[in-house]
Symmetry: C2
Subunit: 545 residues, 2 copies
């Protein structure tokens, strides 16, 4: 028996496009004389469809997609994830299901039991959990189907759940398992995924075909990395990351397990490629091709520009340098050098004139109060306005260049440097932004050395440095990581050896700046706890502040 | 037996403040010789605490609050909602619980079964559902405690759930029920609430003490409206909306049911008062007192200004008129008249100079392309910048004045007229904004008649009218309501008699503008489907667009 894994890049709500991709894969699989072609979880509608699942019209279109796939299932079986309607009057309206289509019919359907409802996941918002498990026979083989999270509670070790679907399915003696997944990228998730698959193999000792999405959906990046596991515990094939793949496997060979192919898991390599894909898909799926961004000469905009040029092509990226009286010459020089290294267009638009125009209008209304964040923000917002004007005139999307450390402590101006349609590196702490820059320069200088080595500055007042108001980034990032990723409280973080006053100040800054993060662009998620839909905090609150 | 209902305004994470309020209410109840004082759901930490619930330190502080309440429970019993730790290794870490404290101990605890996970609610993200139900005796009476949603599946009629906790509790023969709730305001929710309480009475025929939150938490407004129900089906007392109340009831009198007190439910009255509270609490709970907003002479900014003046006092609201070459004289006159009617400070800051400064910088980069949204947005964003500069200089919060119809179709400029810390009327359709204006004028003209009767215009180009690019608001709002509130698809809306091309255009506009709504301020929620945390849509999608 031959089984084809189709690791595809779906587009939410684009039923026609998704169906075309699947039909193309079915054709490919047929050419390989495959018996079964496997797609991912919710492949008809893309993942996550979010509240579109509440629209009956949306579900009808997904059902129509299943009907179309049935029509081509006469010579080959098709495994595909899609929502299905819960026929019971009680409970949620839908199941999150794996369909097995063959001979123009639904030969089997297995609904998902374990519905992730944490971080970016909202599955219990839409889906009813399943409590029935059935394997089925196809061409002499007994098959178990599972949906994503259903294989993540092996031996009941996952504290979130008290059910292990495969413990039920294995009793029926399946020859192999097909898992349809939508398991998003984080920089350490691929390892977790292989670990959990190995635990499944240890326990069930049958081949596993694990089919994931590849591609980015606003904040959420799917890296692919679908996996074929042999029952001897070897990774028969971990599919490449960040690309579509349609590969046919001979079940007997998988059964024997005489090969092991695993992908490189270097953190900077992964983050780099994930963001490039995230950028590429954000533009492509919205129907845009061109980006604009402000280049300050600093490291954040430099790293963002490199990622954009790699994702969209240098001819599709334009930069604007917007010096003020507070900008140093090296900022301009470094930004120009970067743009020239990348081969992207740049223009220089000094902000002195609009700044003076605003200041002239506002001076009397400022009532003689001293220079403060108001004047600083006029500069940042004049820049935002210039970038947005060019974006509106020429139809390109403004990229936001904020990093995660700044975003955490609110070191940025709403509608100014926080403007943009997409936050490219706002899930990368500043210390990792430096690492990413070094990684980008590994085969030759792309980012000017001076951009990497000079002290970070927003240059919004004379001789300003980030270190005037923030601790060193290595300390800041450690505290932020413990608070944001690990949900530690002040006492626990202080106990780790950090200065009490500093910890309290940083945690307070994080909490009082929720209002800023609420209004900033979606962040490409690469960590286990990114700002955005996976981190839901009150704005009006008084905790640690 | 005497029972005190304490309808209080909590503040998320402000354990000390919430505890102080509760201790004060305990004192009051003791003065009334009350036997039991009842607080609301998650009263210790406020509702919704969102992902703060994932922080062990946050839970410890809530537990400390329960300890403090125990200390004052020697002469009076205290019913209070709080998270409690799930001792089982499996399932979510917490329960959403009602504590019954007496004699320095926890006399009883009842966890919530039905965990709302839809719209603004994310309870299954945090809480494990309960499947055990126990009544208990106190001073000769048997008491059933329930938490909010647990009384919303009477006779299993709610399609979301298959369990009815009170059907279990009633078997143990309780004399009355106490329900601790966090049931947010929408303009028709108070009626639903009385209906569901009457259904409970029909079925169980015991007095019910239903204790709700009052007050606003960012987007979510709690109206109070706690209810004491008599077993004869009469509403013994529906407590006032939008105010804190501590009222003691004689159980025997409630049992007899010889009175009925119900609050006025006029829609405009409710929306008006809800938004006033929402504004008041947003400022108060963030520690701000002063607001700023742009006054255009149009109806949206006028209605917003009235609401702000009523919530914060006219002395705390300042307006800025920012005319351009496209502004008509009546816009300035109407805005001035409104400001004078309200007694709020206003300044006039023409935007011609910064506009010219930007245009001078950008003209060559615009490459001779015709006047379009780029130039329009320079105006809107110059206004946003001026307002934010004054906000930053003087420490006031900018109010966003967008209405729900505009917000739906993306008729607004990001970082321009969509700027602001709070969207005051963005859950009110334009047709209701007119109704609200009329309601505000019912006792004399506050909003100039001309502001209400003139054709709406953004005045971003010569002789522009909203009707140039949008259908009449009565038609637009009907289509939007069917799509947004009722989740109808294009076919169903067209079938209602609307023009097909128009419906498709409007639904497309809604969907392609998710990116704008993602970056706008939190919206005070007054309807059943507001933009914000209760409506979660993909940005990168291709559905109906």
């Amino acid at each position: 028996m031959k089984i084809t894994v189709a690791q595809l890049n779906y587009h939410i709500g684009n039923f026609e496009g998704n169906l075309d991709k699947m039909l193309h894969a079915v054709e490919n699989a047929k050419k390989d004389n495959s018996d079964i072609v496997c797609f991912a979880e919710l492949a008809t509608c893309g993942y996550p469809p979010r509240d579109f699942l509440e629209f009956p019209d949306f579900i009808s279109r997904s059902n129509a997609c299943i009907e179309s796939l049935k029509q081509v299932s006469h010579d080959i079986a098709i495994v595909v994830g899609a929502p299905s309607i819960n026929p019971e009057p009680e409970g949620k309206d839908l199941f999150n299901s794996a369909y097995f289509l063959y001979g123009g019919e639904i030969l089997a359907i297995q609904h998902k039991s374990l519905l992730p409802t944490y971080d970016i996941f909202d599955e219990y918002r839409y889906f009813e959990p399943c409590r029935q498990y059935e394997t089925f026979e196809f061409r002499g083989k007994r098959i178990a189907m599972t949906v994503c999270e259903d294989i993540w509670n092996i031996g009941n070790e996952n504290p979130l759940y008290d059910i292990c679907p495969m413990d039920e399915l294995i009793k029926q003696g399946p020859d192999f398992m097909i898992n349809v997944s939508a398991s998003p990228f984080t920089y350490d998730h691929a390892n977790n995924r292989l670990d959990i698959l190995k635990e499944n193999i240890d326990r069930y000792q049958i081949p596993i075909f694990y089919v994931n999405h590849v591609g980015s959906q606003t904040q959420i990046i799917f890296d692919g990395g679908s996996v074929v596991m042999s029952p001897n515990g070897r990774v028969f094939h971990e599919l490449p990351y960040f690309t579509e793949e349609i590969i046919t496997y001979e079940l007997d060979e998988v059964q024997k397990g005489e090969q092991e192919i695993i992908q490189d898991k270097n953190k900077m390599h992964l983050i780099h490629d994930a963001i490039v894909l995230g950028l590429h898909d954000y533009f492509g799926k919205l129907g845009f091709s061109k980006a604009i961004l402000g280049l300050s000469g600093g490291i954040d905009s430099a790293v963002t520009a490199v990622l954009a040029a790699r994702a969209l092509g240098p001819e599709n990226v334009r930069a604007v340098l917007m010096p003020s009286q507070f900008s140093s010459q090296h900022s301009i020089d470094d930004a120009v050098a970067l743009a020239e290294n990348l081969g992207i267009r740049y223009d220089i638009v000094p902000i002195q004139k609009p700044y003076e125009a605003f200041y002239g209008l506002l001076e009397s209304l400022f009532e003689g109060k001293p220079f403060n964040v108001a004047e600083e923000n006029i500069q940042a917002r004049s820049r935002g306005l210039i970038l947005m004007a060019l974006s509106n005139k020429h139809g390109n999307i403004l990229l936001n260049t904020t990093n995660k450390s700044e975003m955490a402590v609110g070191y940025g101006t709403l509608y100014g440097d926080l403007a943009g349609g997409l936050s490219v590196i706002a899930d990368v702490y500043k210390t990792d932004v430096f690492r990413l820059a070094r990684y980008m320069n590994k085969d030759g200088e792309v980012i000017p050395e001076n951009t990497i080595t000079k002290p970070p500055s927003a240059e919004l007042r004379h001789d300003q440095k980030d270190s005037d108001s923030l601790p060193d980034y290595d300390i800041l990032d450690e505290i932020l990581y413990e608070y944001i990723e690990n949900r530690k409280g002040p006492k626990a973080i202080i106990k780790m050896g950090h200065d009490e006053a500093l910890v309290r100040r940083i945690l307070r800054l994080v909490n009082i700046n929720e209002f800023k993060r609420y209004q900033t662009a979606p962040v490409l998620r690469v960590s286990n706890k990114a700002f955005g839909m996976g981190r839901r905090m009150p704005i009006v609150a008084k905790y640690l502040n």
